[in-house]
Symmetry: C2
DNA sequence: TCAAAAGTGTTAGATTTACACCCATGA
DNA sequence: TCATGGGTGTAAATCTAACACTTTTGA
C-alpha cells in the first residue's frame, strides 16, 4: 500500500433514472425507500457498488434486479458527491439513466418491488439529491435523443409514426408538426416502413415501422 | 450503521484534464507520475477525495495545488469505475475538465510540478484509463464550447477575433471561414469590441474584444 | 353518418455556405 | 516596397417552419 490512504475511502452507490413511455407520457420508476435513513420517502432505485464489479456493472445489476431485464440501454449521468448528500454516511453516488420499453416490464414484478411509474412532469420530492439527478437525466436524454437513435429503446420494436412523434413530444415537452416530423423520418432509411398495420390506435389503422439498427451507422444523420 | 456495508467502500479519486491554449494549439497538462504504481508514466493530475470535501471540491483543490489558480472553469466528465483500472487498488475516479488561460499559469510553478503542456492531437500513452478520459473531455468541450460561451476561459480577458477563431479551430480541429466567423461574432452583443489595439500579432494591429459576462444571459444565443 | 386518427406537399423566410480583394504597417 | 495579418459583403443553396384537407373505418 504505497500512498493509498484510508481517509479517502467512501461508500459508492449507483442510482438509476429508468425512463419508460406509456403512449402518452414520459415516466420514470420510483419507489418508497425501504430502509433507513429516509424510510418511506420517494426515491430512485439504486444500490451499492461491490468490490468485484465495475460501476457500470453495478448499474446493470441494479436494473436487472428491479426489472428482470438485461441489456437495457443505459448511460452514465455523473457522480454526485456532496459531503452530506446522504443523511446517514458519506456515500458518493453515480447516477445512470436507462431507457426501457415499459411493456417489457412485467407488472407483477414491478408491483412486488413497489415501483411506480411517475410522469416526468410531476416528480414529487425525492430522497436526498435524487431530484437533481432526474433534472440532469432529463436534459441528457433530450440531447441524446435529438442526435442519436436511442429513443427506440422506449418503444416496442414495431411502432407507428404517431407513437414515435408522441414520444419525442413527451421528451422535449413541446408539440411537433406532423408533416415536418414525417418528412424527417422519411429521410432516414434506417427507420423502415413494414407492411404491417396497427389497428389498436385508430379505426383506419396505421403502418408499423421498425428501427433497423444495422442500417444505421455513425455516418447516418439523425435529427428529430 | 443500518445497511451500509464495508464491502462496497472504495478509494475515490479525481483526475483533471486541464486545457490551455497557446495561440495556435489546444493543449492539456500532463506530468510524469511520481508514485507507484505507474511511476514515471505520463499521467493526468489527480488526487484523492478526502472525507471532508465534496468531489467537486477535491477537483478544485487539485487544480489549485497544481496551478495556484482559484475559480477555474471546471466541469465533470464522469466516473471511471472499471474494477482493474488502477493497477494497485480498487480506485474509482471522477474525471473533470478545466479551462485555464495558460498565461495565468506561472511557469516556475508549472516546472516545479514537472507539468508539461501537450498538444491535444499528440497525446502519448497515459497511465491507466487516462486516455479514455481525455477523449471524452475533448468531445464534451467541443459540445460545450459550441453552445455556451465558455471558451473565453482559455483566452486573456482581451483578445483579437483571430485568436478567438484560432481557438475554435483548434478545439474543433477544422478550419473556419473568417468572414462567416466574424459575422456570427458581430451578432452576439456580449462579445464587445474595445478601442484597444493589439500590435503583437501583426503590423497593422487588430482590435481587442472582450466577453461581457453580464450582457450574456441564458436567452442569448451563442453558436460558434 | 360521423368521429377519430392517418396520411400527404408547397411555399416563404431564415440560415448557411462559398468566395476575393483592399488596408495598414513595420521591417 | 513588400510581406503579413486585418478587415469587409454578396449571392446561391439549403434548411426550416407554417399551414389544411382528404382518407379510412368502426361504432
Amino acid at each position: 500500500m504505497t500512498f493509498y490512504n484510508e481517509h479517502s475511502k467512501v461508500w459508492l452507490s449507483v442510482d438509476c433514472i429508468i425512463f419508460g413511455f406509456d403512449e402518452k407520457k414520459l415516466k420514470i420508476l420510483v419507489g418508497r425507500r425501504q430502509m433507513d435513513p429516509g424510510r418511506g420517502q420517494w426515491s430512485l432505485y439504486g444500490g451499492f457498488v461491490a468490490a468485484t464489479e465495475s460501476v457500470d456493472e453495478a448499474a446493470s445489476r441494479t436494473l436487472f434486479e428491479l426489472t428482470g431485464l438485461r441489456n437495457i440501454y443505459m448511460s452514465q449521468i455523473g457522480a454526485f458527491g456532496k459531503v452530506d448528500r446522504d443523511p446517514g454516511e458519506r456515500v458518493v453516488s453515480i447516477a445512470y439513466y436507462a431507457l426501457i420499453n415499459a411493456s417489457d416490464y412485467d407488472e407483477k414484478l414491478r408491483k412486488s418491488h413497489g415501483a411506480e411509474w411517475i410522469d416526468i412532469e410531476e416528480i414529487p420530492e425525492l430522497y436526498s439529491d435524487h431530484n437533481e439527478m432526474v433534472i440532469k437525466a432529463r436534459k441528457l436524454i433530450q440531447d441524446k435523443m435529438s442526435n442519436e437513435p436511442v429513443g427506440f429503446n422506449l418503444l416496442p420494436s414495431l411502432f407507428t409514426l404517431t407513437q414515435l412523434q408522441t414520444l419525442y413530444e413527451a421528451v422535449y415537452g413541446v408539440e411537433l408538426d406532423k408533416r415536418n416530423f414525417r418528412k424527417r423520418v422519411k429521410d432516414m432509411d434506417f427507420i423502415q416502413k413494414t407492411d404491417l398495420i396497427d389497428k389498436k390506435s385508430s379505426k383506419r389503422g396505421a403502418y408499423l415501422y421498425r428501427f433497423n439498427k444495422r442500417a444505421y451507422t455513425e455516418e447516418s444523420n439523425f435529427k428529430l
